[in-house]
């Protein structure tokens, strides 16, 4: 699978924080940063909502209704890019 993003010093630590969430939430399903866990059917509705709270709490950002686009959340790399965008906008 082609990577959404190249190796990026800004994204790396963000991806790792998100990886920690999935390692805990889906211990039996090791995920790559570009794997679409929604398409794989690994994320139930409770976990999808927990993911929002985790991202908000971990990066001190607010996920708004305008951010509800599956493309912001479907892979760890996409979440990281979304988070970086939010952090940049807040600066």
């Amino acid at each position: 699978m082609a990577s959404d993003f190249g190796v990026d010093d800004d994204l790396g630590p963000i991806v790792e924080r998100i990886r920690a969430f999935f390692a805990s939430a889906l211990p039996e399903s090791p995920l790559e940063p570009d794997q679409d866990y929604f398409a794989l059917g690994l994320v139930n509705s409770l976990l999808a909502l927990e993911l929002v709270t985790y991202v908000e709490k971990s990066f001190t950002i607010r996920v708004d209704v305008e951010d509800l686009d599956l493309d912001n959340f479907r892979t760890m790399n996409r979440i990281a890019a979304f988070v970086r965008g939010k952090l940049a906008a807040a600066r």
Partner: protein, 358 residues
């Protein structure tokens, strides 16, 4: 009026509401005027900005008086939480002040004949801005002004607000159900009804919008159950201390004391589960979601266990018409089904245990 004073002022009326099948309109109005509806919504939308701790106390104290009264707070809180979290700025401005003031009463319309625990399989459909389908067991649905409806659009879950006064909305009040008899429960049919709002993009209606509402609902139900358990314990302690049989107080019997001990532990455990979930919610902790499922499950079971013991220790008084513990016992049975039945919660909690939830 503070909520404890309010709750005590209506305690003596709860049996009649249960018998007559409804919390009276003027009491619903009084709850709204006193500021107990959606009190956790921020002040800029007319709420009181209450913390989870404050909402929890309210629900415990209402739950210890009347399950339907707590149900009113629950449903309005659920819909307001969904709008606050996932409404856009205009939707929040349009709906939250009316929900906090009680000018608009809301119903949560998700369950269907073919979709109870598995809400992903709802058949209610949104097509060209109109909704069609039939929803069951809508708490305060008989008097609601607006419904939060879970539907699907092109196979994707979508949450919408529907004005109850629109032509094509038909409300069938439910009577004679086991418990929550005063909660104005209704089945509601939507026959090609134009929707007032779509909350969040299609695809997020279940996991995010309805998910947020249900999480809030579980939280308030959990506290309501803790309050119900405590009320049953208090009533039973008073009964066994006062009641004598053959010159001996019931409380002097070892078997009675043992049951009281079990009830105390159940009640305390329910309370602490709720307190733990509350602390996580105060902190915005992601685990709050799972811990709220846990608290609701544990508190509902505790309520059910304590209420059953309470009925037995009350003897004939427990099964008499207008018996408070009898009503609590019937309501507690409902608590183990709504906002996620025991068996569904166990599936989530088993997964949480595998994650090392602690």
């Amino acid at each position: 009026m503070d909520h404890v004073t309010f709750a005590e002022s209506v305690r003596a009326d709860a049996a009649e509401w249960d018998r007559e099948g409804g919390v009276p309109t003027e009491v619903v109005r009084a709850v709204a005027v006193a500021g107990f509806l959606a009190a956790d919504v921020p002040a800029r939308y007319g709420g009181r900005g209450w913390s989870p701790t404050e909402v929890g106390r309210l629900c415990a104290d209402f739950g210890g008086v009347c399950g339907a009264l707590r149900g009113l707070v629950t449903v309005q809180g659920m819909v307001a939480a969904a709008v606050l979290r996932w409404g856009d700025a205009g939707q929040r401005d349009r709906w939250l002040p009316a929900l906090t003031s009680g000018e608009v009463l809301s119903g949560f319309a998700a369950t269907e004949a073919g979709a109870g625990s598995d809400l992903a399989s709802v058949s209610t459909a949104l097509d060209a801005g109109r909704v069609r389908g039939r929803k069951l067991w809508v708490t305060f649905g008989a008097v609601a002004d607006v419904f939060l409806v879970l539907a699907t659009q092109d196979g994707r879950p979508v949450a919408v607000l529907v004005d109850a006064r629109q032509p094509g909305v038909s409300v069938e009040p439910v009577t004679g159900q086991l418990g929550m008899r005063a909660a104005r429960i209704a089945h509601v049919r939507f026959d090609d009804v134009p929707v007032a709002e779509v909350l969040a993009p299609p695809g997020f209606g279940l996991s995010h919008v309805v998910g947020t509402a249900l999480d809030h609902g579980r939280f308030t139900v959990a506290w309501g159950c803790a309050g119900l358990a405590r009320a049953c314990l208090d009533l039973t302690v008073a009964h066994v201390a006062a009641r004598t049989q053959g010159g001996t107080a019931l409380s002097a019997h070892q078997s009675v004391r043992a049951v009281l001990g079990r009830c105390l532990v159940e009640t305390r455990a329910a309370w602490q589960l709720c307190a733990h979930a509350t602390a996580l919610r105060e902190n915005g902790d992601p685990e709050a979601l799972a811990e709220t499922v846990l608290a609701k499950y544990g508190a509902a079971r505790a309520a059910s266990v304590v209420a059953e013991h309470a009925v037995r220790l009350h003897g004939a008084a427990g099964i008499a018409p207008d018996s408070a513990v009898g009503r609590f016992h019937r309501d507690a049975a409902v608590m183990r089904i709504i906002e996620g039945a025991d068996e569904v919660a166990e599936q989530h909690l088993g997964g949480y245990a595998l994650r090392g939830g602690s």
